[in-house]
Symmetry: C5
Subunit: 265 residues, 5 copies
């Protein structure tokens, strides 16, 4: 964790990371609710929304479009990922080198760590290489910290999420992306465990506008520094509307009610 290293993908230390690696992780069926979202250009345009501080994509989606969007979007290079076509102990392929991402102009790197997996040791070592290369290229580091694997029965327990947040700090991430642990208290526990590393809540599967925003509001009250969101934006009919509302809750510290009203939702 290096103070200030994530400044290119944050606004006043907070962030809304628009994530769009679902085509790799879940397959194109995640685009079925709004079929045009299969077209990356639709998402790149969405990423220019003022609420979005970083756009997280895999290499192929970045090299095809980023040169046209580099003035308007901050690129968070999601380095690893894997399909859900196989079903072994959690692991993730490193699909993108930091050097290549830096050459393309990426502002920060994103890396998934499945703590608790039988592949944890190997994944931590891959993270080490990525993290140190990011430092050499003055890039911020975001860890998707998702405990998962044989030994873990419940990966949303407060203690597990707090451990996930701590792993991000210990191993050198500037921002920890963790699942919402179910309550404001539990989120606070995770924020405390992360020390100087910022914690952002992972959006997860689609919820109603109000439910989603209330969860985000609760995370922010607990000390979280923002949100990483995909399906809860691009699976909606009005993705700009929810981004307007998220901008209110996260950067203007409004309540969910105010945000819904301001955004006209």
């Amino acid at each position: 964790m290096k103070p200030g290293a994530d400044s290119a993908i944050t606004r006043n230390g907070k962030s809304i990371i628009l994530a769009y690696d679902h085509g790799l992780e879940h397959g194109p069926s995640d685009f079925d609710p709004v079929p045009e979202t299969a077209d990356p250009e639709v998402l790149w345009d969405l990423a220019t929304h003022s609420a979005v501080t970083a756009f997280a994509v895999q290499k192929g989606v970045a090299e095809a479009y980023y040169p046209s969007y580099e003035d308007d979007v901050s690129l968070l290079a999601k380095l690893n990922g894997t399909s859900n076509l196989w079903m072994g102990e959690p692991d993730s392929a490193v699909n993108w080198t930091v050097e290549n991402a830096a050459d393309l102009g990426a502002d920060a790197i994103g890396f998934t760590l499945y703590g608790g997996s039988n592949h944890e040791v190997e994944m931590q070592e891959e993270f080490r290489d990525a993290q140190e290369a990011a430092r050499e290229n003055d890039m911020g580091v975001v860890m998707w910290s998702y405990p998962r694997g044989q030994g873990l029965k419940n990966d949303k327990k407060p203690g597990t999420i707090a451990y996930a947040a701590r792993l991000a700090l210990e191993l050198g991430a500037d921002i920890a992306k963790v699942k919402y642990p179910g309550s404001e208290d539990a989120m606070q526990q995770a924020v405390r465990a992360a020390g100087p590393t910022s914690v952002v809540m992972s959006g997860g599967s689609k919820a109603s506008d109000r439910d989603f925003l209330e969860t985000v509001e609760s995370a922010m009250n607990a000390g979280a520094q923002g949100l990483a969101v995909g399906r809860n934006v691009f699976q909606r009919e009005d993705p700009e509307g929810i981004l307007d509302a998220l901008e209110q809750v996260i950067f203007e510290e409004t309540t969910t009610d105010e945000a819904l009203e301001t955004a006209g939702l």
Copy 2:
């Protein structure tokens, strides 16, 4: 995926890739229908046909003949492959480095990915190295995207083929070679999932002239950008004839009937 990177192996964005790595993947028995096709020279001559935009071979076949054909054939260096003498979880050896292929003058690289295999993570990482080295050498990248392995019961399901096409985009391929998923609708689904990555249909095992051309026509109607074909050309008595017809269907957008007539089949 890098716009324009595949221009050396396409014509107006479309391609007919003549593939000839069957000696490695299936063994010489694939040459039994037309025994002289065991001789690579016969295929190199065929690859000079105007319909063919790229010739895909393994290293040994390239280094023996390409210097004599470099003015007439665009070389697609098929980097990985394995024999069918063994029967474990799908995997493929990387038999050729990009640097060596570039030194020989190859125009693009081809790489098989068995998404869904227990070796998916490892194969994606090998693809990463190949893809990034190809970029450094200004070569296009074609992925043979073939989901296969323990977890997959049906590797031609529309959703699986669409996922295969998407993997090619996410990981940085310019062209995705996928199996025909059985209908024009399903092929369209794959084309949509691939976004800016071109989709070419894999020829598969030998069919009648009409059946084969109708499938190709359907794929083109679905938005595919061409074909990769081996046995459906070299296992025929008149390989030039079918190439004539394919040229009509793919580049001239004729119907199967017109193509059969023009090619005199």
Copy 3:
């Protein structure tokens, strides 16, 4: 083992290493007894205590704070570590390269070796690389020598602890951190086995002031050269008090009674 190589983290050849990698190894629950210890700054401040000759942390905790403490704290870069979320044969990820630690200004490296684990061979080879890189950067080398794994029923047997101490010497560590083997005689056996390598006692889980100090006194009487301690300091209400007492026992060679009195405990 290189004579004098550990001088930056010892005082007259002895050391008190304050260890704070529990957030990685055990998770944030180790901070529950004194919640503010989740904040690394609290520990960095403690590490400025005159008793502490080295502060052992993982990369993330070092890069966030060391630049502000480099004049007051000697940094012992703990290179490997893993979470307790998984439960396989003991292993540890190398989370930090020596080069990166040296660039940050670390004075020495720390490395865990689980002798007796099925991963012993691999861990020894990782240690080799770290140890040789440390020599190139003029850094001392501390081995957390913890026999553990399938073949070991009792990892605190005198013979096992002596073997652990010897491994540190044979493989090139300057300081061996071992568990207290239960008696002064057994500790002496370990010290003898280590030859010129210094042996420091590992603090372990929290004990009463008197019990803890008496064990340390016994270790020192046996020829140990100091202590590596975490929970027995930071899980106390008065961590400075116990550090005062430890300074007496270790550097002033007082008895436990004298130390308790001097420290006002």
Copy 4:
């Protein structure tokens, strides 16, 4: 496969490779029939026979003697090999780097590939590195192409031997060393499958003079380009005699009867 690359170890495109790596592959018991053959010097002297176009040995045997024989013997550096003391799925250690062999002055490299083994993928990748390094050093490449492993019940079936020969071509070998598949027809099938890659017959275990020569004659009639032989030479009382006869059959295209007479056998 690179035309002409094997010229240093062939005569008019044909070769007799004297192989002497049995001490590694089978152990010294292969020397029992003629005990002095345990002494490498005896074999090096034999390798100066005019019939021998290349002498295939492991690194240790080469570095001890080649400097004294470099004017009279063409060195074929057998890079990999393993003992028969263990009994797992076929694999072979790479015991010699191409760079070291090139520094010593080797003319070509030899490499075993167990196609069909569960280690096929790994062995093909090791072959890739060796083959490409050989090209950089202008050395010929000989593949010992021996399908073997769990999935193969009969490793001398005509189709298997033809596949073996084809693998050598596809992967980039100039010469394929394969077992005699039992008939002239089957050998012809292998020769055809190899395309421009030369096929040499593997000598195998000791047979009578006549039987052995008749097999060699049949292989040559089938289009083979020579022989790789060890035990059928050095386990005879008169190794020069059989070399004389082999020279007749292979380079002078005589019959077995003529060769036996000329050689005085």
Copy 5:
């Protein structure tokens, strides 16, 4: 095997290698018979005895003392080794790079190969790297050639020991350290199999003065070129005495009786 490469650790082509890596391989219990032998300095002093042509230790023991003994002792850097705390298929960690050993001034390298182990392939490849690096640094190469593993029921059979000696030659060692195979004839068989590679007998566990010397005498009569010895020297009350006697038997070619008398044993 390179003629003359071992000259720095031999006298007239013969050697007495004092080995002291037992602290790693067996643990400190090997020092119990003579407790002060846990102190490496005691052994370094012993290594200055005129009989000793090389002292074999692990890295840690070398870097601590060799600078003080470099004028009086020839250093044989034992590169690999492992503890006996675990019990899997035989393997050995590479604990020391050749480059580091060369920088320290080592004269030769020592390397254990467990031929017949399921790790044979991997160990041979590690040996390759060490052997080739040794050549670049003009260092001799000694192989501890110890067939061992699942497939081997009797690792002292004459044929196995002869195979072990041959492996050392084939793979490029100058000296093969093998176990005494039980008879002079069997030792002769091993010596013959090794060709130009020197064979030295491994001392093994402690025996009486006379029994030990007679075995050494028998090995020398069989053509062995010396001895590698540890426990049979340092577990005796009078280690100098036995070294005196060994010097007689090995370099002066005396009988055991004469040697015992001369040495006053």
